[in-house]
Amino acid sequence: MNFSFSDEQRMLCDSVSRFVKQQYSFDQREVARQKEAGFDDKNWALFAELGWLMVPFSEKAGGLSGKAADVMIVMEELGKGLVVEPYFANTLLAGKLISELSSNSNSNAMLENMMAGEYQFSLAYCEPQSRYDLANISTQAEVFDNEFVLNGHKSVVLNAAMADMLVVIARTSSFQTDKNGLSAILVDPQSPGVDIRCYPTVDGFQAADIYFSNVTVAKSSLLGNLDDAFPALEKTVDFATFGVCAEAIGMMEMLYKKTVEYTKERQQFGKPLASFQALQHRMADMFIEYEQAKSAVLMAAMELDSTQGFAPKEVSAAKSRVGKAARLIGQEAVQLHGGMGVTDELDIGHYFKRLTAIQFVLGSTDFHTQRYASLCR
């Protein structure tokens, strides 16, 4: 049992941490966020140059090793900076699914381009009715001799506007909630019949609802086997869930520390806020929640690395525990910052917004508690 970083991990951590500290102040983040793409492509190019985009992928796929602990390090540090570059949507979600399913030279080449920072992906899996049930997919891909014809509606697709290629989860057979009969298909967003309605999200990212009407796609665009995308999708979404948990850890550390610093400076009734015990105990609670959530994420990382990357019980435990901590720490940080906490000007509220979003994507806190409970049966 060993909790210390390897030399490579230490270097990776330093590298991401240095970027956030030196080139990603909250003001710089806001400038990046307001660019047309929703992020700064110079930053993205730098991520590629520093090798961060290769971290989650196997050496066979052209990546660095794909250990959960490494991904945890990257996501935790990015979380500290509230980084809006689409590491999660592009690399962890869409990229990872492609690498799980990758079977043809075409998609391998695209994945390598993604790692080089030159290609953006977006994974379209959720639908308005599906909530957190990954198998509830009504988007149809009718199978013909040489092509698929897609019809359906995908909701809140992250990074869709910037995507060079969409990865669409569609039903190629069976009934709407069956785990069997789902396929992953690459779709060019420029194809006729693809209607992308973009919007910013509350937590600083970009997303879209996408409508497919009679969109024709070549058979060669299928990733993996027909009707068999579910296991890879579940594994990928689980891994991405672990990724946002690590991101949340970074944010919660910033929030509790910033709150402590603020209450030491802010004077009321002639003394610092930090001298009031009613507030002190709440900050102690924030600290305890952070440490417990961090432990849960470490547990998930270690389990993922000792089980070939699939540890649904521990990932659900982590998401449930992180969700609980994120709610308390986010709300308390705002409360203890008083009026400043609810302004757009201060970073505190933006951490709060992202922490709130994390509680409700990829399965809510309650969803994962229930999933854990049923996996224990």
Binding site: M1, S295, D305, S306, T369, Y372, C376
Partner: protein
């Protein structure tokens, strides 16, 4: 970074497991696993088995009788013991005053006291709290006045666990010099319980048991050679002891075993009824509790890892105390819930023929040990109060970790 055990560590685990299988009396482990009380004799018997094996004091330095185990070995030992239903070692000698004596005691004190602690031949109790000195321990009023070669001790200690069984008490008592600040006037004294002027009176707890006592000192004569360290420096020795006590209070391994048993119990439907685990709300509470406990286990391992790479069990041990007791008390509550109507009968410890002659086995009420769950829940509300209340632990976190 990994959570794997090495082959040597796995071999060690098997060695511990086999030892427990062979050496732990079944009558003892059954009581422990059912959450029932043990007699002093049962405890001493087990501690002597551990002593004979050389495993009684894993946390002590090797030169004083420790095992020299790594943090991982200690973790494995503790978890195997809890899983097998081995009694917890009584902390007062081995985990509290022992470390104080080998750290701050004289050579003579070490020679005199440590062997008996290791052999469990001498039973210790802790004379810290007083009626008016609880969380504010340093305001204690029991006095120790130097008179020639002796201290004269007067005052009353309270909440003294197992004082009725104890041969010795380690005691905090202040010097009469009122010009000294509280923390700078405290002496750490070792006092024999059969000394003239000591009187022990029982305090009954919510479970109807005598576990704690008041200990009265009326001009008790204590040889000055029984002072630990220097006069008036006792507070710093006590603080060191309390850090050890807090880490010990987390009881992660025991909670894991208890939760596992609770889950097993809840999964077995009563004849003609429905298993409790099929109650969605109960299953969720159980899941949440298990997630908290598994997280706490990692928090504990992180703390141990920091300690073994040179750090001290610092203020983080406060997290272990707070969360460890919260989890344990939540488990207590769910056991009561699982008992249903059988939480009501107040037939304290009906399995224990020594203390309760009214209930021979054939007259048992309930199907298992359900009737002991509510009394234990009431009793164990103490856990968030002793060892520095959980609120005091938060003050420690604020001061020492957050710098508030």
């Amino acid at each position: 970074m990994n959570n794997q055990f090495t082959d040597q560590e796995l071999a060690f685990r098997d060695e511990v497991r086999n030892f427990l299988k062979v050496s732990l009396p079944k009558t003892t482990s059954e009581r422990v696993l059912n959450g029932l009380r043990l007699t002093k004799e049962q405890r001493v018997q087990w501690q002597k088995v551990l002593y004979d094996k050389g495993w009684i004091a894993p946390n002590w330095p090797v030169e004083f009788g420790g095992t020299g185990w790594s943090a991982t070995q200690k973790y494995l030992f503790e978890h195997e013991c809890a899983a097998a239903g081995a009694p917890e070692v009584i902390a007062f000698g081995l985990k509290m005053v022992g470390p104080v004596i080998y750290t701050y005691g004289t050579e003579q004190q070490k020679k005199r006291f440590l062997p008996d602690i290791l052999k469990s031949d001498v039973w210790w109790c802790q004379g810290f709290s007083e009626a008016a000195a609880g969380s504010d321990l340093a305001s204690l009023q029991t006095t120790a006045t130097l008179d020639g070669d002796n201290y004269i001790v007067s005052g009353t200690k309270t909440w003294t666990t197992y004082a009725q069984h104890a041969d010795w008490i380690f005691c905090l008592a202040r010097s009469p010099d009122r010009s000294l600040k509280n923390q700078q006037a405290i002496n750490f004294l070792l006092i024999k319980m059969d000394t003239l002027g000591i009187k022990v009176s029982p305090i009954m707890m919510l479970d109807g048991q005598r576990e704690i006592n008041e200990v009265h000192f009326d001009n008790v004569v204590v040889p000055a050679e029984n002072l630990i360290g220097e006069p008036n420096k006792g507070w710093s020795y006590a603080k060191m002891l309390l850090t050890h006590e807090r880490t010990n209070i987390a009881k992660v391994a025991i909670s894991k075993t208890r939760l596992k048993n609770l889950r097993k119990m809840a999964s077995e439907p009563p004849k003609g009824g429905v298993a409790l685990i099929d109650d969605h709300a109960f299953a969720l509470k159980l899941a949440e509790l298990e997630i908290e406990l598994r997280s706490l286990e990692y928090t504990e391992m992180r703390t141990l890892a920091a300690v073994s790479s040179g750090g001290a069990p610092g203020p983080e041990s406060s997290i272990l105390k707070i969360k460890g007791t919260e989890v344990a008390q939540f488990i207590d509550e769910l056991y009561v819930e699982a008992a249903g109507y059988y939480c009501l009968p107040f037939v304290n410890d009906q399995f224990h023929s020594d203390t309760n002659a009214e209930f021979p086995r054939e007259h048992h009420i309930g199907q298992g040990s359900e009737t002991d769950r509510a009394p234990w829940y009431f009793n164990n509300r103490k856990a968030s109060i002793y060892g520095g209340s959980n609120e005091v632990q938060k003050v420690i976190i604020c001061k020492s970790v957050l710098g508030l």
